[in-house]
């Protein structure tokens, strides 16, 4: 059979399975079973499939997935975030769009403590949305700012999805995580600039309000007690990786110990909250790992069928510039992002994309960073962006199209930053080069 026909059959059956509502993990599993039956001739192929389930997840480098999620769960279950937020509130002076800026600022900090976009967004929503609404902020400056800053948890390490990306793409997990810091902060800065610009141009969109000035003493106490200790956890994760003291997996374990330790120090971690954090962690990480276990065989299937090789040769025969392909691949991801969830997108596209990236001499870390920002956009694009629904859940009386519109300016900013990173790859790789 021709390679393109094999490829078409494999992708078509996968898409049909996903479309009729087969859970992502099992859709990949079924395609792999069929592949083993047809291409690897029955019994031997099925035994191979079992070994590939074992081999695909028993890797120390995957451990950050549950650990990063646990960090987010602990932050979400305890009052660490609420306290830090009120301390930051006292520190921030009279600025245009004050509450929205507070949202971005705290969202960015929480992103460095949490690997879960859902938890981050839900948390920001419950902490800040009531106040934003009460003070009459426009939708994009309230809901939009919450969703955009919540989504930063996917980029700024700890980030479970970045780990999954690196594992599927077979590139350095540590380098991808470190590389994501600069673009993550850049995004946050541009969000802040947008908010200030918007609030200055249209003061009714972010009505100024009387801030009771906090005394210097209050500010310092808040800063030292509730904000500074967070930097300790950030150091435990990012710092030790940067210094080369620990691998990403070990850094993740330190981060968990840091979060649990801090929550205990605040006398915040009750038994019930601990149990709920662990249960939430099990739910999300078993879901992610089940997909990994069932789906890694998929890229082997593509390789075995000759499909990925055939497509690679075909693509290379075009002799176009790597940038053209880079942009083309990003466009494909952007479109898929409107309809699918991220892990599935990565599993489908990366076995095809990574050989192209390699053959064209594109820096894989640069590619990974741009792809991950692109996947972040997928959280915010209608009709099915995950965070849009998290937001809708936090604000039940708002109409869905209002949520869509609220996210729109931030989606544009994200796409702008993607363009920027394509034009200046240095921004994406500045930190990765420094890692030991």
């Amino acid at each position: 059979m021709e390679w393109w026909l094999v490829l078409a059959v494999i992708f078509a059956s996968l898409i049909v399975l996903l479309a009729v509502g087969v859970p992502v993990a099992f859709a990949f599993l079924i395609v792999n079973i069929a592949g083993a039956a047809i291409l690897q001739g029955g019994a031997g192929g099925f035994q191979q499939l079992i070994h590939s389930i074992f081999g695909s997840v028993t890797s120390f480098s995957l451990l950050p997935i549950p650990l990063f999620v646990l960090m987010g769960e602990i932050l979400w279950q305890t009052n660490i975030a609420a306290r830090a937020l009120s301390a930051l509130d006292k520190l921030l002076g009279r600025v245009p769009g004050r509450l929205s800026l507070l949202t971005v600022l705290s969202g960015t900090i929480f992103a460095a403590l949490s690997g879960s976009t859902i938890a981050n967004t839900a948390m920001l929503g419950s902490l800040l949305l009531p106040d934003l609404k009460k003070r009459g902020y426009a939708d994009d400056l309230s809901m939009g700012a919450i969703m955009a800053s919540g989504a930063l948890a996917m980029l700024i390490p700890p980030s479970a999805l970045a780990v999954i990306f690196a594992v599927i793409a077979k590139i350095s997990i540590g380098k991808v995580l470190i590389a994501l810091i600069a673009p993550g902060l850049l995004l946050a800065a541009i969000y802040a600039l947008y908010i200030i610009w918007r609030a200055m141009r249209d003061p009714t969109a972010a009505p100024a309000y009387q801030v009771t000035p906090a005394t210097f003493r209050e500010q310092m106490v808040g800063l030292l007690l509730y904000v500074a200790p967070l930097s300790f956890i950030v150091f435990m994760v990012i710092g030790v990786m940067f210094l080369g003291v620990a691998t990403p997996t070990e850094a993740a374990a330190f981060g968990c110990i840091g979060s649990i330790g801090l929550a205990t120090a605040y006398r915040d971690l009750t038994w019930v909250r601990f149990r709920d954090s662990i249960e939430g962690t099990l739910r999300i990480s078993a879901m992610m790992l089940a997909i990994m276990a069932c789906a890694i065989g998929f890229s082997q299937l593509l390789a075995y069928s000759g499909g990925s090789r055939g497509l690679l040769d075909y693509v290379l025969s075009f002799d176009a510039s790597p940038v053209v392909f880079f942009i083309l691949m990003q466009l494909i991801l952007l479109v898929l992002g409107c309809f699918m969830e991220q892990i599935a997108i990565m599993l489908i596209t990366l076995p095809i994309f990574m050989p192209i990236v390699k053959a064209m001499g594109i820096d894989p870390i640069w590619f990974a960073v741009v792809c991950l920002i692109n996947m972040e956009v997928a959280l915010l694009t209608p009709p099915f962006g995950l965070l849009l629904f998290v937001m809708k859940g936090a604000a039940p009386r708002v109409k869905m199209h209002e949520v869509y519109l609220a996210a729109a300016p931030f989606v544009l900013i994200d796409i702008l930053v993607i363009g920027l990173l394509i034009a200046f790859p240095g921004v994406a790789t500045v930190f990765a080069g420094l890692v030991r």
Partner: protein, 156 residues
């Protein structure tokens, strides 16, 4: 049937609890291992290995429990547009199909595990763990998931 369903619930909960305990294990022992290596130059050699097995145990043991709570990601772009009655019918058919595929994997997982047991295969690493002890999570997890999806499919 009710009794069987309740037994299934219990079993799923027990395995999920085991998976949760294993996550806690990694949080406790990985830093101890790193600390011991850096400060005393004495890594706890088996932590690394056990952690890798845990990464297979967590999804396998949690799989059926997760299925009961609809925790597996589904892309419902199209199915959410169907009317209630048709959607339910499709969901049930899909659940039965998934149950079959899980049963299939459980069967072959059982075959591989049994052969490994008979051959006395071990995983060449620090602990020299018998392979079947780790592999058995696959038939166990997928077997229970098959039952759970079958229940979803047969539910009136």
């Amino acid at each position: 049937m009710e009794v069987l369903y309740r037994a299934l619930d219990r079993l799923e909960d027990a395995l999920a609890f085991a998976a949760a305990a294993m996550i806690v294990f990694t949080v406790v022992f990985v830093p101890i291992d790193v600390g011991s290596r850096y400060f005393f130059g004495a890594p706890i050699t088996w932590v690394y290995e056990v952690t890798e097995y845990i990464l297979l145990m967590v999804p396998c043991l949690g799989m059926a429990w997760l299925a009961r709570r609809d925790g597996h990601v589904v892309i419902d772009v199209l199915t959410s547009r169907l009317d209630e009655r048709r959607r339910r019918r499709l969901e049930r058919a899909v659940a039965l199909f998934v149950a079959l595929s899980c049963a299939f994997v459980a069967w072959w997982g059982g075959v591989v595990t049994l052969e490994s047991f008979k051959a006395g295969a071990i995983i060449e690493n620090v602990l020299q763990t018998p392979q079947w002890i780790v592999y058995v999570a696959i038939p166990l997890g997928f077997g229970l998931s098959a039952l759970e999806f079958a229940r979803k499919g047969l539910r009136p």
